[in-house]
Amino acid sequence: MSAIDELSRMPPPVPPPPSLALEAELGKLTAVAPRRPVRQLALLIGLSLIYGGGIASMLTLRRDLADLPMGWFAAAGLAWLVGFVAPVYLATVPAPGSIIPRWKLAGGAAVIGAIGFIALGLAIHPSAPTSGHVSFGTGYGCLKFGLATAIVPVVIGAVFLRGALPVGSRWVAASLGAGGGALGGLMLHVHCPITDTLHVGIIHGGVVGIAALVAAALVPRATDVR
């Protein structure tokens, strides 16, 4: 294809000088502090855990706590914590030498988190005599508090990532939402004594998916480069 080869050999064009609007912006140029992803991640995790802990302390600890197998309780708590940290890490910290976070991996983490926590909730939910057993329809409170917990990491992440996402913003947003949802799941894990299969699977696990979808719909408005 000699025509394409000819085109590829053409010298780069001579650009026009910066526009008046750009010159006006340069006229009032000030120093800015570039993004520090690891510091931002630490701040996001720290503030979110404090906020989630605050919500959990406002509510009561689950009444069946003493009767549950502690190994399962700790492992499930750790899984929720990893479900929070891993997606927010991928959403905020780019690969070395990059500016744009790893949105493909972040998107994958959001999908795996959303499906995984529902599946795990449906599959593993040990019950104790003091556990609650109510129908699926009473899950509104859990959904409300779970999503309320997810708000803070999503908002903080959106603020930190402003301008960093010319591409992949929906996936990164979904990842922030999934992480926030998992934090909500962690909070519910220490609060809610209901061990009904559908409640744990669909409501507690569903918080992750719902938060991911809502974040994917709303956050790019804040993070897109304008």
């Binding site: 294809m1 000699s2 025509a3 394409i4 000819e6 085109l7 590829s8 050999r9 053409m10 010298p11 780069p12 064009p13 001579v14 650009p15 026009p16 910066p18 526009s19 609007a21 750009l22 912006e25 340069l26 140029l29 000030t30 120093a31 800015v32 502090a33 570039p34 993004r35 520090r36 992803p37 780019p94 030498g97 990059s98 500016i99 744009i100 949105w103 493909k104 990532l161 402003r162 301008g163 960093a164 010319p166 591409v167 992949g168 897109d224 480069v225 304008r226």
Partner: protein
């Protein structure tokens, strides 16, 4: 000579001269990409200015030590996509090859005398641009980034916000279409430039 990283860092530190040097370094490549995507000099220059305005407004998102080029190209890609969606006319067809004496001038920004010094065949270039303009946006971008700008498939995918696999498929389909189109259309152009009556 300072590289893009160093210039971007100094620009973030408030050095307007560093921005100008960065602009001088990056704008030709960016304009080349945008020209091949839009095929309209005025629109490409407009998108170039929009891109740099966005870079300026988003410079806080820069991470020290990072290569700013993929990020800047992604912003240009996004700006082009937004413009294409807004006007539903990313491709501007301006007629037959004979009516296009300004196309190479618009692409290179060089005078007609310098262009005639035998570096690129204007008719072949016009044929290539015509063929390129006939591709869907995504395939055109894949061809421009990988074949014309010499970027790796991974880099092109990062700029366009897609997966490496999808970028490979787009580039392959784009090449195939170009091969079919240029396989027939580039021959008459060669004859014409050869001076045969």
């Amino acid at each position: 000579m300072a590289d893009e990283k160093d210039l971007m860092q100094r620009y973030c530190d408030g050095d307007a001269g560093a921005f100008r040097a960065l602009y001088a370094l990056v704008a030709p490549r960016l304009l080349g990409y945008l020209l091949k995507m839009t095929r309209e000099r005025a629109l490409a220059e407009d998108l170039l200015q929009h891109t740099f305005l966005k870079v300026h407004r988003a410079r806080k998102a820069y991470v020290r030590g990072a290569d700013p080029l993929p990020w800047i190209f992604s912003i240009a890609h996004r700006t082009f996509i937004d413009e294409a969606r807004k006007h539903k006319r990313a491709v501007v067809r301006v007629g037959e090859v004979e009516e296009l004496p300004e196309v190479p001038a618009g692409l290179t920004g060089e005078s007609a005398e310098r262009r005639d010094e035998g570096r690129a065949d204007p008719e072949l270039v016009s044929a290539a641009l015509d063929a390129l303009a006939g591709l869907p946006d995504q395939q055109r971008e894949a061809v421009v980034l990988t074949k014309l700008d010499g970027r790796s498939v991974a880099e092109a995918a990062a700029i366009a916000g897609t997966t490496t696999g999808a970028m490979k498929v787009r580039a392959h389909r784009g090449y195939e279409t170009l091969r079919k189109v240029l396989g027939t259309s580039s021959e008459p152009a060669k004859k014409t430039t050869g001076g045969a009556p």
